[in-house]
Symmetry: C2
Subunit: 391 residues, 2 copies
């Protein structure tokens, strides 16, 4: 077990009626606010008006950047950074899901430099993120955990790249998590978000590093929560308990707490980033298709104990079965959850992806390295095999 640093100073207002604190929290950082959001769903649910009222009541000046895309693009980041610099913005308020928040993080960082913000992400340049405008968020989708972590993923459609980077200075200062703001999330997006949350936990849970049993227990609890509540939220979208459990779980799945000292590379995320970089599919759906195949592909005699632990503790599989039976059953149960309970289509063909780009995507998934050194080391050949299993 290696040493680690725990440091997550995000203040979270969780639950209903907390937006009355927004003006006061924003005012701590200045007078000029850039409000960022996506396609306008926040107007439909009345959140936009509420936010504008709070900002105006606090005597702050508001600028806007709307239209941030799912799988947010570098063009939006550039535009946001431009506004921040031209208008001398003091603080950015992101209202939306992970895409809006991720883009806003790089807007905050981009506002502080003279170069193109893509340089923060570009694998060769990899410019250091040393300063950023303060960011506050209002979450409307339980999925990426961006509201409580310091990273983000940005797409560049010109280069077919979807890349991530992070920095403590991009960590949100304050996040508002009101489960009611996710009531209007569609059945499909609820499923994709839940698959994303689950994947964040599985990427950490399935590593070869020995770490804290305590954190494994926490991860199992978070996974049981997703498995219990995602189908409820899909069926009954205004179920507060379900939305609340998914929302708080989304934050804790990726804010760093469950990692402890683990530093193993993630596997499914980089593989999925290529799917959505090439085909612009929904991230969580891509993860759902990949994850059970990745688990199947990685299974061997050395790591089977982890599958057994997962199967017994998360799905309640009878521990008296053989290890191999438990492992197979665990993958089966996970698939059932993703493809039956979450009703996600289970193959790449279903989402109109064929094998034509597999070779180049597999290479790109290694992000300039020779392999992904995750739970099991994956060469581009392995990755191509996994993509093929998903057809």
């Amino acid at each position: 077990m290696k040493p680690f640093i725990y440091n997550i100073p995000v203040k979270v207002y969780f639950g209903e009626g907390q937006l009355s604190n927004l003006g006061r929290e924003l005012s701590k950082y200045g007078k000029k606010v850039l409000l960022t959001y996506g396609g306008g769903s926040i107007k439909k649910i009345g959140l936009y008006d509420e936010v504008i009222k709070e900002i105006r009541d606090a005597g702050l000046e508001v600028f806007e950047l709307s239209g941030i895309e799912p799988n947010p693009r570098i063009e939006s980041v550039r535009e946001g950074a431009r506004i921040c610099k031209e208008e001398n913005i003091d603080v950015v308020l992101a209202v939306g899901g992970g895409s809006t928040i991720d883009a806003s993080k790089f807007i905050c960082a981009g506002a502080k430099v003279d170069f193109d913000p893509w340089d923060f992400l570009d694998l060769e340049k990899r410019a250091k993120i040393e300063d950023a405008l303060p960011l506050l968020t209002i979450l409307t989708l339980s999925a990426t955990g961006s509201e409580m972590d310091n990273g983000g993923v940005i797409s560049n459609l010109k280069t077919n790249e979807k890349l991530s980077n992070g920095s403590m200075c991009m960590l949100p200062k304050v996040s508002f998590l009101d489960p009611k703001n996710t009531y209007s999330v569609s059945e499909y997006q609820t499923a994709c978000g839940s698959a994303d949350i689950l994947s964040h936990i599985l990427e950490v849970y399935f590593t070869t590093e020995n770490d804290l049993f305590m954190l494994d227990c926490v991860m199992e609890g978070l996974m049981k929560t997703v498995i219990k509540y995602a189908p409820i939220a899909m069926k009954d979208p205004t179920n507060y308990e379900a939305r609340a459990n998914l929302m708080w779980t989304s934050s804790w799945a990726i804010n760093g707490f469950i990692n402890g000292s683990k530093s193993t590379a993630w596997s499914c995320h980089p593989m999925e980033h290529e799917l959505s970089a090439f085909y612009d599919i929904t991230h969580g759906h891509g993860l759902a298709i990949l994850t059970p195949r990745w688990m199947q592909y990685c299974l061997n005699d050395e790591n089977i104990y982890k599958y057994v632990q997962f199967g017994v503790n998360v799905f309640g599989i009878d521990k008296n079965l053989s290890d191999r039976e438990i492992a197979e059953k665990a993958i089966e149960k996970l698939s059932e959850f993703l493809f039956n309970d979450l009703k996600l289509q289970s193959t790449l063909k279903d989402v109109n992806i064929n094998d034509e780009n597999f070779a180049i995507m597999a290479k790109k998934a290694c992000k300039g390295k020779e392999s992904i050194k995750g739970f099991r080391e994956l060469t581009p050949e392995d990755i191509e095999n996994i993509y093929r299993m998903c057809l």
Copy 2:
């Protein structure tokens, strides 16, 4: 489910070899450091020399307050606050367990006021804690969680009072958690610390408020961790894995995360505070004696579901048994853990406490109110009954 605010901006250096960051972290707050510690065990384990070296290497000036007692007394707080004011201390560094850290919190607050720091605790005066010197901690005992929360408990032997209070300004800025610093903790103190951790979780787990299933899962994971590792640490005191799991669990048992929106009053803690206020027994041991009796006393048809959940999920009791059987078995399993595995004496008689002060202690446990409104409302008569069950 009520709204809540999550806000725990403590930076934690977890693991070995992290003390090299101490000088840099202290320097952020000034030049003059007050080092506080207890009876000198930190000298025996070599930690004192290491700390002094780090402080001196950073060019800081160090003052000392040693001899802070278990169940720390208001006299130590007064003395620490006096030094801070006289020497213009910039930052306090507490090296020890919960007692040293709790006392240091009130030293930090006491340094900022002209009145007696007991006024912060006194039930009638209850002075507001609005400002405090910055506090850093180096933990040497896994128990109270004081390294990551904003409260503390101070004893006044003159008035036979053991009282608590808290404030965000007393929250440690940085805490150093090196499991090796707990290697020398005795078998008995390891047992008491573990009973304390378990009690912090049980006080939140056993409430009547509906809250997040996710947090119940986390609590069950933390409890399983204590149950698994406390006996290992007792048998094999230099077992890093056991010490690490207990240490990180102690912080998360009480830093506020597991509470969510729950605000129910705790029950066993105020009852125990009277035991150690009157008899100066070890807090965790008092809690161990009280907890199973409290659970037995509170059990009824309305709340039995919580016992069932606890028994099945924490102790793996067969869920096909009747609720009553599961509940009884759960209390039995908990008692076995506390009195067999942790080897703690199980009755008040064993620790030389008889019934002579039960009536006054029961009244005082209500802290000036008519009852403890916890998992089940407890009047002084109820509390006396529970004390009697412990004889």
